[in-house]
Amino acid sequence: MSSTILTTIIMLSLLGLVSAVILYVIAQKFKVIEDPRIDQVTELLPGANCGGCGFTGCRALAEAMVKADSFEGLYCPVGGADALGKIAVVLDRKPIIMEPKIAVLRCNGTPENCTRLTNYDGASNCRVAHSLYGGTTACFYGCLGCGDCVEACRFDAMYMDPVTKLPVISDEKCVACGACVKACPRNIIELRKKMHKDKKIYVSCVNKDKGALSRKACTVSCIGCGKCVKVCQYEAITLNDNLAFIDSFKCKMCRKCAPECPTGAILEIGFAVKEKKVIPEAEVRE
């Protein structure tokens, strides 16, 4: 009886020992040497896997960061300067300073400003609507209101306003990953430089039609008159295809352009109220 137990114990121990040796040999032979810093960098990244950096996920960016010699072209918009600073310590490399950005909706085509001419009852998807026809208003450039951008946002920073029928971007939650910019078939959303106290000044229109046509479509459209271009001292405003554009990296927030705009297409958000009337849209955005 006892010999059976003994044989079993010895047999199993031997089996275990032989297996351990085989496993050890295999583990040594097929060892994958990975830079431990990749794991460290991945830990420091936000882990949202949003793709805002241009890579498939946070780990892919971490691998690229460890591999590269500098941070050139490698930037996590979500983690921002904080994360980059910490990663720079791990990688013992100088961080590059990137301006934080924020997503801005360049359309103010609320039902009040832009009359609805038709009803759309096809698939509720901006890309489908965009491929079918010009939109429910006379504006062929503005927001279609099906909310592809809201669906694309992984940070819960957007929602559709039921009154304005436009998406609203939360300044606190937006990390400028650019997912909404890619989702929008009409290129309405733009990543702009994040200003102090989330102040914003921008042309809230993407209509490239001639003045008369765009004005007919929407009361707050940019008619391409060029008054703002003339008044800007910093050459921040350009006029192309009947559409003014304020470069947020050149803009000094002097606020001279907004009162010049005859249609009120230039929105000032986050400023103390000047003599000009408060635009209802600004209230909604805040």
Binding site: L117, T118, D121, G122, A123, N125, R127, V128, S131, L132, Y133, G134, F140, L213
Partner: protein, 444 residues
């Protein structure tokens, strides 16, 4: 048993309300808006300027490139402006707006209605005349006819199929044309046969147009090589590939053209336009449009000039009923709801269908239960549910593998879906995206 195509297909209610209404010539409107892109291919380039006076039949926009078509003035008058207008597709495109002063035609156009059966032009001259007169396929796709007629070297054509199917519910413009202008259509077919150098032509007509079949069968005795093929009623038999399969049993392989199975398909209305161009030197400036709908007091088939606003057609049909929900350009299956009823009639406008508010609304969408009804009815043998679901999720590699480029956008899948899913919307999105991806890949 009558012939038909074997795979898929549906039987929507026919609703051919205007089948017994003779074609009525509509008076000229005060203003016509002629868009420069009424065909597949490059838009034509306007050759007139603001303030010019034009005569009917005079060229106002010239074809740009090979796959393009000339556009002619449908009326005589003055060019008021050249500006972008919303067309029947819902997009804006350049259009020549003409203030109508009368109906004075350009020189060299024979306006007589006498039948002229003898074709005097040579092969090349017929193709050249089609190009000159801006003839395009009038079934709806508006593919320039001269491109179809010019057979590239190495290809051979032995059969011309004429599409008199008119499988779309409601529409009756081709039906009336076959009844009223039978001999002209057959002469046009003969001209097309001469241009293609074939000795056989088959006109496919569905058996719900028995009078048209009878009329053309009697008349075809006077023309050599033309036979009439009655077909079983089934949508989408008017699709090029379906019609070829139904008429002669040949199957066009995926990604190939009818010419690869030695066939060319033309519409009956195109044959009539070819007759007018070849025998009368008359450019394509007017067409028959069916204006129909259950609420209309006077639905009918109207012969209108290109550029007439759709609203004028509705007015002629008794005015827009108050409960109209949608005005569809084309048939109810493949047509597109108009975003502006002042959009002008184009060469491809075969009908205008008005739907009541109650019937036009799309039903509430419920989840797909994988019943595969859409797969059964797809005439191209695709899996619509898979294509739509993949396109919705942005998985365009799967959409491409599912042969989305073979989709003829007939809408049978969306029609039959018990969950009322907008399958075709997503498939169109997938198709256009995949085609863009393929183009980009090929240019790289």
């Amino acid at each position: 048993m009558f012939k038909t195509f074997p795979k898929g297909g549906i039987h929507p209610p026919e609703n051919k309300l205007t089948a017994d209404r003779p074609v009525v010539v509509l008076p000229l409107p005060q203003i016509v808006t002629v868009t420069v892109s009424q065909h597949i291919g490059a838009p034509a380039v306007p050759v007139v300027a603001k303030g010019d006076t034009v005569r009917a039949g005079q060229i106002i926009a010239a074809a740009k490139g090979f796959v393009s078509a000339n556009v002619h003035s449908p009326v005589s008058g003055t060019i008021a402006r050249i500006e972008p207008v919303v067309d029947t597709s819902g997009y804006r495109q350049t259009a020549v707006v003409i203030e109508v002063s009368g109906d004075e035609w350009a020189d060299g156009i024979d306006l007589s209605t006498t039948l002229d059966k003898e074709i005097r032009l040579s092969r090349e001259e017929i193709v050249a005349r089609c190009l000159e007169c801006g003839i395009v396929g009038m079934g709806g796709a508006t593919f320039p006819t001269h491109v179809k007629m010019g057979i590239p070297t190495g290809k051979r054509c032995d059969l011309l199929i004429i599409n008199g199917v008119e499988c779309e519910p409601y529409l009756t413009s081709d039906h009336r044309l076959m009844l009223e202008k039978g001999e002209e259509v057959l002469t046009g077919v003969s001209a097309l046969m001469k241009a293609l150098n074939v000795d056989k032509a088959v006109i496919g007509i569905e058996i719900n147009k028995a009078d048209a079949i009878e009329n053309l069968t009697t008349l075809a005795d006077g023309f050599s090589g033309i036979t009439i093929q009655p077909l079983k009623v089934k949508y989408p038999q008017g699709g090029e590939k379906q019609l070829i399969k139904a008429v002669c049993g040949r199957e066009v392989p995926s990604g190939k053209l009818p010419l690869d199975v030695n066939v060319v398909v033309q519409n009956v209305a195109t044959a009539y336009a070819v007759y007018e161009a070849v025998q009368k030197n008359k450019p394509l400036v007017e067409r028959i449009v069916t204006v129909t709908g259950h609420g209309l007091s006077n639905p009918g088939n109207f012969k209108v000039r290109i550029g007439t606003p759709v609203s004028a057609l509705i007015e002629a049909a008794g005015g827009m009923p108050g409960d109209t929900g949608k005005v569809v350009n084309g048939g109810p299956m493949m047509g597109k709801a108009l975003s502006d009823i002042n959009a002008p009639v184009t060469k491809g406008t075969s009908g205008v269908v008005l739907f009541r508010e109650t019937t036009s609304r799309r039903a509430e969408v419920t989840p797909c239960i994988r019943c595969t009804k859409c797969t059964y009815v797809c005439p191209m043998g695709l899996e619509p549910w898979m294509l739509a679901a993949s396109a919705e999720r942005g998985m365009f590699d799967r959409v491409e593998k599912g042969k989305v480029t073979d989709c003829i956008e007939c809408g049978s899948c969306a029609y039959t879906c018990p969950a009322k899913r907008p399958l075709l919307d997503y498939i169109r999105l997938g198709k256009s995206t995949v085609m863009r991806i393929i183009r980009e890949r090929n240019t790289k």
